[in-house]
């Protein structure tokens, strides 16, 4: 792959090479775009450097972030001196925007030791073992039990998604009269609408924004919670997901593209580098400032999955949550600690937030996650 225009022998070749170069850096460019670029060149736009840049930018980019990268790519390709560049085969020279496709296999996170004792020699039948597992705190599972629970949960989440869909459909009832069909049907009867046809109401899908705490204290729960979120994506019109610990990362794209496992790997790698200490308030502030306007539309339901243990500033957390609440339909806080007997939120952050939360629940077992079905159906 050529990295500079210097190495090409004709205008056509250089334009094509540039488009390939841009594609290699993550811009979504296909043959259609290359053809259009050549068309622009043929329309004499290539005589003026600025005009050509503008034309290509309009063809190649689809967001303001891409446009910024495009400017750098353009300079790099058409301007750089070959003597300064080493010959690099297929290396991306700039930080790309789009994550490359990886197919990572599932890696279960930190589930303690594999303890063969617990699985052999048991005389439980399949059904009761399932029941037991569903009620087990996720933090207490062994490796083998965790794998088993993965399989069970996949099936159960899928069933839940189907139920949610059916419930919504049944809720709707008939829509308004479909005048057009009715009239057409009435022609044969001389204009008397003997039969009324109704419009089917289209389902009003709701929006969901999920915040998942992936700090060390939550890592045993993160896997399941992430799978849970993933299983629900079809039910919602718009689902945005964020993970946070000391800072906020948006994983919505990863979820949409079914790269749940890649996402998990990616965040656990980074989690190791994070110093300890969740800062929930700061993360929410980052959300409100950077994404708030774009995402908090249409009164979404906000789901926060965190144990509330944080080292940040409690008044900040409260202020940012109040800001969220203004545009949210409801805020639901899932706290795995709540599953413990006698848990009362003492951490200042958690206590402060309770005033703003609409629904405070535990999320420490598979059963407790399934119980969320009611909230989600009304979301």
């Amino acid at each position: 792959m050529k990295h500079q225009a210097f190495g090409t022998k004709s205008i056509t070749e250089s334009v094509v090479a540039f488009m390939q170069f841009a594609r290699g850096h993550g811009l979504n460019i296909g043959i259609g775009e290359t053809q259009e670029a050549l068309f622009c060149a043929s329309q004499d736009l290539i005589q003026n450097r600025k005009a050509f840049t503008y034309a290509l930018k309009a063809i190649c980019c689809t967001s303001p972030e891409e446009r910024k990268v495009f400017d750098q790519l353009f300079l790099l390709f058409w301007d750089s001196n070959p003597l300064d560049q080493q010959d690099q085969k297929n290396r991306t020279l700039l930080q790309g925007l789009v994550q490359k496709n990886t197919n990572a296999s599932l890696v279960l996170l930190g589930h303690g030791s594999t303890d063969p004792r617990t699985t052999e020699g048991k005389s439980f039948s399949g059904a009761s073992r399932t029941e037991r597992l569903k009620k087990t705190d996720l933090a207490m599972l062994t490796q083998i039990e965790a794998e088993l629970l993965e399989k069970i949960s996949e099936k159960l989440f899928r069933q839940m998604a189907v139920r949610l869909h059916r419930r919504r459909k049944m809720d709707q009832g008939n829509g308004p009269v479909n005048l057009r069909r009715t009239i057409r049907g009435s022609i044969a009867f001389g204009g008397e609408p003997m039969e009324l046809f109704h419009r089917t109401r289209s389902p009003r899908k709701r929006r969901l924004v999920v915040f998942l705490d992936v700090s060390g204290s939550m890592d045993k729960y993160s896997v399941f919670l992430l799978r849970f979120i993933y299983a629900l994506r079809k039910h919602f019109r718009q689902m945005e997901a964020f993970v946070f610990s000391t800072s906020l990362i948006r994983i919505s794209k990863g979820l949409q593209q079914r790269r749940v496992d890649w996402v998990l790997n990616h965040i656990t790698e980074r989690a190791d580098n994070w110093s300890s200490g969740t800062r929930i308030g700061e993360c929410f502030r980052e959300f409100n400032v950077v994404y708030g306007k774009r995402i908090m539309n249409g009164a979404p339901t906000v789901l926060v999955m965190s144990d509330g243990l944080d080292t940040g500033d409690p008044p900040l957390l409260l202020a940012e949550m109040k800001q969220l609440k203004k545009r949210a339909k409801q805020i639901v806080w899932l706290n795995p600690l709540k599953g413990m007997k006698g848990y009362v939120p003492e951490a200042k952050g958690m206590k402060a937030a309770l005033g703003v939360i609409d629904d405070f629940r535990s999320a420490h077992t598979l059963d407790s996650l399934l119980e969320l079905e009611n909230i989600l159906a009304d979301a």
Binding site: R180, R184, G191
Partner: protein, 289 residues
């Protein structure tokens, strides 16, 4: 309509119509005309995206057809609908005439009883290609986007009772979005893409001066200076260019010649639209030079 030969010509025409455009926008419009590809304009609210379509239609001396999007927009509101009342009357009137059922049906579902909405209107133009403005596309839903995608590739619409309507003159399509949600990739790639951002100090002054030619230099500089400063702060609702123009106009109407604290207090509502922003601005107000 004379052929437009360069982006420079477009810039000149835009200027004549009091629209301040930079060279990039003019180039992109030139591409729109030459390649006949739709143009997607994204940017924060109030920066002049909708105006581009208005100005383009005047430049081309052609009709502007506007479709305003909202959540739940469907085919009957966007493309066509049958005039049910008229049809019911028509059926009643036909009742005793000696026509067969097929003939009656044919008459009831004819162009006479069809209410055309913007998308259908845009492909039924007889004389020249219109400009089709699809405004605030991000407020509609994915189903509508999918339908639009199909329409933009073939420019024909099938009405079951009538047949297929094909465009004699393909419209020039401009889509705008405030980026309150991500549009589908397929749609974005179908279009030329341009991002219009807030203007800088000099450009904003030029824009305001074009709209309000009688404005005094000092007032202009103070107003624009204040708004540029507002945009740097973390406000709940950042003012767009239309707010700047409104503010300048209100100040002029009330007879203020500079932005004194009294003027500020009285007119802040035309530029800032939320209580917290207004209180914050009042607290931080510093009289201009």
């Amino acid at each position: 309509m004379e052929a437009i030969n360069s982006a420079r010509e477009i810039m000149g025409s835009l200027d004549e119509q009091h629209y301040v455009a930079d060279e990039e926008l003019a180039t992109v419009l030139f591409l729109l005309l030459r390649m006949h590809k739709p143009l997607l304009l994204e940017g924060p609210p109030g920066v002049g995206k909708t105006e581009v379509a208005l100005v383009l239609s005047q430049l081309l001396n052609t009709r502007l057809i506007r479709l305003q999007c909202y959540e739940g927009l469907d085919v009957s509101a966007a493309v066509y609908e049958w005039n049910y009342q008229k049809q019911l009357l028509g059926i009643k009137l036909q009742e005793h005439t000696p026509l067969s059922v097929e003939e009656k049906e044919h008459h009831i579902f004819s162009h006479e009883y069809l209410l055309t909405r913007p998308l259908l209107q845009s492909i039924m133009e007889k004389e020249r290609a219109p400009v089709l403005l699809i405004d605030e596309l991000d407020r509609s839903d994915e189903e509508f986007e999918a339908f639009l995608l199909e329409l933009l590739s073939v420019f024909q619409i099938t009405i079951p009772e009538l047949g297929t309507v094909k465009a004699k003159y393909k419209p020039y399509v401009i889509l705008t979005s405030n980026r309150t949600r991500e549009l589908s990739d397929a749609l974005k790639r179908r279009c030329l893409y341009h991002w219009i951002d807030y203007p800088d100090f000099e450009k904003e002054k030029t824009i305001v001066r074009k709209k309000l030619p009688g404005i005094e230099q000092q007032l202009l500089e103070q107003v624009v200076g204040h708004v540029q400063a507002f945009r740097e702060k973390k406000l709940a609702k950042i003012p767009g260019v239309s707010e700047t123009i409104d503010w300048a106009e209100s100040l002029m109407t009330l007879g203020f010649r500079e932005v004194s604290s009294k003027a500020f207090e009285q007119t802040l509502g035309s530029v800032l639209k939320s209580m917290e922003d207004i209180s914050q601005a009042k607290a931080e107000f510093v009289p201009g030079p």
